[in-house]
C-alpha cells in the first residue's frame, strides 16, 4: 500500500502518513463501535435494552459521549506529577497503535511488510506497560499505583504463554511475517491453522487437537494482556476505583479507552492471523468466481474485520459471563497451568512439524 501511494503522490512523507492513517481510522472506529457494542451486548446478556434514546436503538450514543468528552474540562489534580501525567496517555495509545503497523488487513492493506512482524508486535506492547506504570505513578494516588502494579505484573506474566504459543506457530509456519502466515492459510476454512494448516496429510489431522489447545491458551492470555474481565483486577472497580486511570478525565481518559479498544481488536486480529486464516475468506473469493480480481483485497478487508470483531464479541461475552479472578488465582493460572501446557504444546507441535 505504501508503494502504491508513493507512486501516486511521489512523496515518501505523504505516503507514510496516509499508510499510517488507515489503522488510525480503524482504531477510532473500533472504539466508537466497541463501546456501543459493549453496552448493547452487556445489556442484552442481562436482559436489559441498553442505550435506546440517541438515534435508532441508541446508535449515536457513543458519538454523543465523544462530543461530551471533547468539551470536558481538563481537570488536573495539583498533587500529580504534571510531565509524566500528561505523557502517560500518549505513551499508552502509541503502544497500542504502533502494533497496527504490522497487522495485515488484506494482502494490500498492510502498514509494513517487515519480516519481523509478529516479534515486533510482542515487543511494542511493552510500551503500553511502561505507559501504564507512568500513569499509575504520576497520579500520586494509592489506587492508581496499585492498579498500575497489578496491570504491569499481569501483562508481563501473560506475555510468556502468548509468546510460547506464537513461537510454536512461528515454528510451524517458518516465518515471522504476519502477511506470509495469512497467505499460507489459503482461502478455504479447512486450510486454516486451527484445522492443521494448508498441507493435506496425516500430520494435518495429528495437529488439530494441539492447535486447538494453542488457540485456547493464546486466547486466554491475550485476554489477560488487554486487562479484560475475568482478568481485569488492574481496574477492579470494587477494589481500586478505576485502577491506573482513576485520576484521568476528559480526553486523556478517552485515550486510555481508545487504546483499550484498539488493543482488543489488535489481539483479536493476532489470534485471527495465527489460527483463523487472517484475511483469507473461509469459502473462496467471490471476485475469483466472477473473474473480477481487483475485488479480492476488499473482500479480504471485510473478512479480516469480520473475524476480528467476532473475537472482540467473544471477549465481551466472556466479560459478562465470568466473575473476576483473584490475584493469586490469576498468577497460578498463568504460571502453573498456561505456561507448562504451552511448553508441552510447543514441543509436540515442533515434533509433528519435523515429521
Amino acid at each position: 500500500m505504501y508503494q502504491y501511494f508513493y507512486e501516486l503522490l511521489g512523496s515518501e512523507i505523504l505516503a507514510t502518513l496516509i499508510t499510517a492513517a488507515v489503522p488510525l481510522v480503524n482504531v477510532l472506529l473500533a472504539a466508537l463501535i466497541g463501546v456501543y457494542l459493549e453496552r448493547k451486548v452487556s445489556a442484552h446478556m442481562q436482559d436489559r435494552l441498553g442505550p435506546m434514546r440517541t438515534g435508532w436503538h441508541g446508535i449515536f450514543q457513543t458519538v454523543a459521549d465523544f462530543i461530551k468528552m471533547l468539551q470536558k474540562e481538563d481537570a488536573v489534580s495539583t498533587e500529580v506529577d504534571k510531565k509524566l501525567y500528561n505523557l502517560a496517555p500518549v505513551l499508552v495509545f502509541t503502544g497500542s497503535f504502533a502494533a497496527y503497523a504490522v497487522i495485515p488487513f488484506s494482502s494490500k492493506v498492510i502498514g509494513t511488510e517487515a519480516e519481523v512482524g509478529i516479534f515486533y508486535l510482542l515487543a511494542i506492547s511493552s510500551l503500553v506497560v511502561a505507559g501504564i506504570l507512568m500513569a499509575g505513578w504520576s497520579s500520586n494516588n494509592k489506587y492508581s499505583l496499585l492498579g498500575a502494579m497489578r496491570s504491569a505484573s499481569q501483562i508481563i506474566s501473560y506475555e510468556i504463554p502468548t509468546a510460547i504459543v506464537v513461537l510454536s506457530m512461528v515454528m510451524y509456519t517458518g516465518t515471522l511475517s504476519l502477511d506470509k502466515m495469512s497467505q499460507m492459510q489459503t482461502a478455504y476454512f479447512w486450510n486454516w491453522n486451527i484445522l492443521g494448516g494448508a498441507e493435506f496429510g496425516f500430520a494435518k489431522f495429528l495437529l488439530i487437537p494441539f492447535m486447538i489447545v494453542g488457540f485456547i491458551i493464546i486466547y486466554i492470555s491475550t485476554l489477560a494482556e488487554v486487562n479484560r474481565t475475568p482478568f481485569d483486577i488492574p481496574e477492579a472497580e470494587s477494589e481500586l476505583v478505576a485502577g491506573y486511570f482513576t485520576e484521568y478525565c476528559g480526553m486523556k481518559w478517552a485515550m486510555f479507552m481508545l487504546s483499550e479498544y484498539g488493543n482488543m481488536f489488535a489481539v483479536s486480529g493476532l489470534v485471527t492471523i495465527l489460527f483463523f486464516g487472517g484475511y483469507q475468506s473461509p469459502l473462496g473469493y467471490f471476485g475469483d468466481a466472477i473473474g473480477v480480481h481487483w475485488m479480492i483485497p476488499f473482500e479480504q478487508v471485510f473478512w479480516f474485520i469480520a473475524k476480528g470483531w467476532f473475537f472482540v464479541f467473544v471477549q465481551m461475552w466472556l466479560r459478562w459471563t465470568l466473575p473476576r479472578l483473584r490475584v493469586d488465582q490469576l498468577m497460578s493460572l498463568c504460571w502453573k497451568y498456561l505456561i507448562p501446557y504451552a511448553f508441552v504444546n510447543l514441543i509436540i507441535i515442533g515434533i509433528i512439524t519435523l515429521l
Partner: protein, 165 residues
C-alpha cells in the same frame, strides 16, 4: 536532506536528549522513564542501519524486560513511603576523566579504522541469516548462554521461594 536523514536525526536527537536527562535528572523516576526513550531511539537507529531483528530485540529485552524491572523497583520504594530517592552527582573529576578517555578511544577507533565503504546490498531481512548462524557457527556460545539464563532463572526462583516452616 532526504526523508531517511530526517528520521535519523530525529532518532539521534531523541536518544541524546533523553540520555542527557537520564544522567542529569535528580528524580530517579524521570531517569527511568527517560531511559525508555533512549532505548527506543537506539532501536530506531538500528532499523535505519538495516538490522530489523536487533532493533526489535532491543525493544523486547531492554524496554519490555529490564526497564520495566527498574521502574517496578523504583516505584515500590518511592512516594509510597516518605523517602524521596534522589541521585546526587559526586566524583565529577574521575568521571570526567574516565568519560574523556572512553570518548577519545572511540573517536580514535572511528577515525583510524579503514572502513569499507562500498555500496553493498542491504539485506531485506536479517532474521533468517541470524538464525542460521546461531545454530551453525555460534551454536556453542548460543547453548552456553541458554544454560546461563536457565541457571539464573532457577536461582531466582529458588531465592524467591518462601521457606516452608
Amino acid at each position: 536532506m532526504d526523508f531517511y536523514n530526517i528520521i535519523f536525526f530525529l532518532f539521534a536527537l531523541i536518544t541524546i536528549v533523553s540520555a542527557f536527562i537520564v544522567v542529569t535528572s535528580r528524580n530517579i523516576i524521570y531517569s527511568g522513564f527517560s531511559l525508555l526513550f533512549t532505548f527506543f531511539g537506539v532501536a530506531g537507529i538500528y532499523v535505519l542501519l538495516g538490522s530489523d531483528f536487533i532493533a526489535v530485540v532491543q525493544i523486547m529485552v531492554y524496554v519490555g524486560g529490564i526497564l520495566i524491572l527498574i521502574l517496578f523497583g523504583v516505584m515500590l520504594t518511592n512516594k509510597i513511603v516518605d523517602v524521596e530517592i534522589r541521585t546526587g552527582a559526586s566524583h565529577m573529576l574521575p568521571a570526567a576523566i574516565g568519560v574523556g578517555i572512553l570518548f577519545g578511544a572511540l573517536t580514535a577507533v572511528m577515525v583510524f579504522t579503514g572502513w569499507k565503504s562500498e555500496p553493498g546490498l542491504v539485506p531485506q531481512t536479517t532474521t533468517v541469516d541470524i538464525g542460521k548462524l546461531l545454530i551453525t557457527d555460534y551454536v556453542l556460545i548460543f547453548e552456553l548462554l541458554a544454560m546461563l539464563l536457565l541457571v539464573a532463572l532457577i536461582g531466582a526462583a529458588t531465592i524467591a521461594r518462601r521457606e516452608k516452616e
